[in-house]
Assembly symmetry: D2
C-alpha cells in the first residue's frame, strides 16, 4: 500500500519545495531542519495507525482517561542521509528503540553497482511495528536490503517505510520485492524519472551531501 | 466549529496523557517539550486547511511543480502559558508574523474576577488567517478577550483557536461569544468540570506554573 | 562589572555577524536560532559563576561524585525581543523559574518617550541569582525598569544582565543607574552610536521585528 | 594535551551527573538531550581555539566589523553512541562537513575482542581542523582506529577528540597511540576503573543503549 502525503494539501509540500529548491537547499541548517520536520509529520500520520489503550491518568485535580500508545514503534534508518528524518521521528516517538543500517553502492568494472549492507545496529523486531526511513527511494535497492537486514532480527508485525521523494521505478521495485500486506510505503512525492546513475529527476540531488557535505 | 483531535487515535493523546500526569509533569523540560510537540501537530492539521498554489521549483536536475503556502498564518498566543505551544506552531510556520497578548485575572472584593488585557504586540491581521493559541480554555474569557484584542488590528479572514484542554463550559462560552463561521476551535480534549476557581477538572493544573514556575 | 564575550574568539562572534548581516537576518528561522544559540552560550558562561555542591550519584556500576548546581537561577526576560534569547537560556537551565516582563515606549507629544512596565509575571526572587536578558541595550531604560520591577518581588543575591548588542551610552546608563556590585552585565558587542530614535548603530535593526515580524 | 572541562565549575557537570544517574538516565529523551547539550558546550569551548578573521558586515544602519570563522571544522563521530553528541556539535557548527564512522568489537574465541572499522563516510580532511567525538573513551581502541580511518582521507591540521567520560587507561592509551602535538583530548570526567569487559566504572553504563535502546 502506498500513501502519498504530498497529494493532500499540508505544510509538508512547502518543506518539500524548499528541500528541492537549488537555492534554498544551500542552507544546510534549513535543509536538515526541513528533513526533521518532515520526519515529525510522517511520524504523526503513522501514529494514527498505531494501537492505543485507555489508561487512567491521575492529575492533581482528578482522574482522566486518556488513550496512550501500547507499544512504541522501532525506528530504523539508513545512514547517513536518513539521519535528519530519523531525528524527526525520534522527536515524535521519544521512547522508541532504534536501528541504524548502512548500505553502500559497490561499483563493478562495467559501471553498474550493487548495494551491500555494511553496518547494522538493530534491536529485536519480532512482532513489533517498525518504521524504516530514508530520504530518497531511487532504485529501491537499499531500502529492500535494509528491510531484509531487519528481518534477520525477527519478523515485524508491520513495517512502515518512509521515503520523502521516490521514483516511480523505485516504488514499483519495492512493491515487487516486498509484496506482503504487512508493509506500507509512505512518500511525500513520486518523481517519474530515474537516471542511469540512479538519480531521481527532478528530485533534489544528493540528500546526504546536502545535509552533511560531500564525502570522498 | 469544534475539532477535537483527541477523539482520533494519534500520538497527540500520548502527550496529553503525559502533561496531565501529576508525576510526569514534574519534569518541566518534558512538559514544555510536550506542549511544543502538541503545537506542531495542531499546526500540521491546521496547515491542511490553508491555501496553496503550485510553483515551479528549480532543482539541480530539473523542474518540479510543488504546492507551496500562499500566505503564512499569523501566530497569536496568550502569555505566558501559551508560549511553548506557540513555539511548536512557529516551528511549523517559520515565516509567520507573530502576536503576543497577555490577559490577567483582576480579582474583585467579592472573590470574582474579570479578565483584562494588559499587553498586546500584534501585527496587522486584516484579511489574514490567524492561529490564536493558549494551552487551556477554562472559562473562555481570556481567549475571547484576546480575540477581540486582535480585531482592533483588522478583521482576519479566518481564525483558528487552539486549546489543548478545554472545559465544556469554556467551549460553550466561546461558541456563544464568537458565533461566526470564520472561527474554528481546535482542542485536544474537553473536560466536563470547571471549578469555581476556574480550574478544569481533571485538567492538568496550571500550565503556566508547570512550564515556567510559580509567580508571585 | 561588564563582560564583553565578543572580545575573545568564539563562535559567538559568527552568530553575531549573522544577526547583524542585513541579508542573513532576513531568514527569521536562522535569526531566532542564532539568538537561541547565543543565549545558550551566555548561559554556559554564566553557569561558570554559579555555586555547585558535590553529590554522590549512583550509576549502574558504582558511585560517582559530581558537582551539581545548588540552585537554578531565575530566568527573566523582556518581551518580545528577549524571547528567543530566553529560550536558549532555558535550554541550558531547564529547571529554572522564569519571569516575563514587558516594557513599552510611551511617546510624548514632543517626540520623546518614556519606558513603562505593562506586564510582569515574576516569581519570588529574594536571595536568588537572576539572569535578566534582552537582545539589545539601547538607552538602557527598559533594562533598568525591568530590573526595578524584579526588585518588587525580592532582592536577588546577584543579577546577571545579558544584552547581545549594547550601545556605549546604554552601558554607561546601566552602570550609573545600577551601581551595586551585585550586578554583572554580559554583552556580545558594544556599538558606539545611538540615534535619536534609540537605534544602536551599526546594530542590527529591530530584533523583535526580525524575530517575530512588524507589529502595528 | 588533555582538557578536562569537568574540573572547572559549569552546568556541564550538572548534565554529567544526570547522564550518570541510574534513575535520571531512564528518560531517554533527557539522556539524549543531555548528550546534545554537552556537545554544544564542548563545541563552544573548542570554538575558542579556532581561527577567525575580521569581516565587514553591512547592517541596515551601518557597517560592523565582526570576527567570523575562517573555516568550519569537520565534525566526525563514531556510531551510534556518538550521534547525540554530534548533533550538539552540528547545532554549533551548522555549516560543517561531517564524517560518520562505525567501529565494532569483534569477539574472539578466548573472549577477547579487537575493534574493526566497518562503516566510514568521510570528507577530505587534508589541512582541516577535525572534531572527532564519541560519548565514552573506554579502552580507547575505537577512537584510535576512527582517527586512523580519518587519516586515510588526508592529514588534518589539528584534531580535537571529545569524550564525555574517559577511563584513565583510555586516556593513557590515546596519549601513547597518538603522541603528536596536533591532537587535543577534551573530556568531561576521567574515571579510574575499567572492567575486563571494557566498562568504565563508575561510568554511566552503555551510552548507545541508553540513547537508542539495546541492540541484538
Amino acid at each position: 500500500m502506498v500513501k502519498n502525503l504530498g497529494q493532500q494539501h499540508s505544510i509538508l509540500n512547502q518543506y518539500i519545495a524548499e528541500i528541492r529548491d537549488e537555492r534554498v537547499q544551500q542552507d544546510s541548517l534549513r535543509f536538515r531542519r526541513n528533513l526533521e520536520r518532515i520526519g515529525m509529520f510522517f511520524g504523526y500520520r503513522i501514529s494514527e495507525t498505531l494501537v492505543y489503550e485507555k489508561k487512567e491518568i491521575t492529575t492533581t485535580l482528578g482522574v482522566a482517561e486518556v488513550p496512550v500508545l501500547t507499544d512504541y514503534p522501532v525506528l530504523a534508518t539508513i545512514l547517513r542521509a536518513g539521519l535528519p528524518l530519523h531525528q524527526g521521528l525520534l522527536n515524535v516517538f521519544d521512547k522508541s528503540e532504534n536501528a541504524f543500517i548502512s548500505a553502500y553502492r559497490m561499483y563493478h568494472k562495467d559501471g553498474r553497482f550493487s548495494i551491500q549492507i555494511e553496518y547494522s545496529s538493530t534491536p529485536d523486531v519480532e512482532g513489533k511495528v517498525v518504521i524504516l526511513s530514508d530520504s530518497m527511494l531511487a532504485t529501491g535497492a537499499s531500502m529492500v536490503l535494509a528491510y531484509k537486514e531487519l528481518l534477520t532480527n525477527g519478523k515485524p508485525k508491520h513495517t512502515h517505510i518512509i521515503s520523502i521523494l521516490a521514483s516511480t521505478e523505485g516504488v514499483e521495485y519495492l512493491k515487487r520485492s516486498l509484496p506482503g500486506s504487512d508493509i506500507t510505503l509512505w512518500v511525500g512525492a513520486i518523481d517519474e524519472e530515474l537516471t542511469a546513475q540512479a538519480y531521481i529527476v527532478p528530485g533534489l540531488g544528493d540528500a546526504g551531501d546536502l545535509a552533511y557535505g560531500k564525502k570522498l
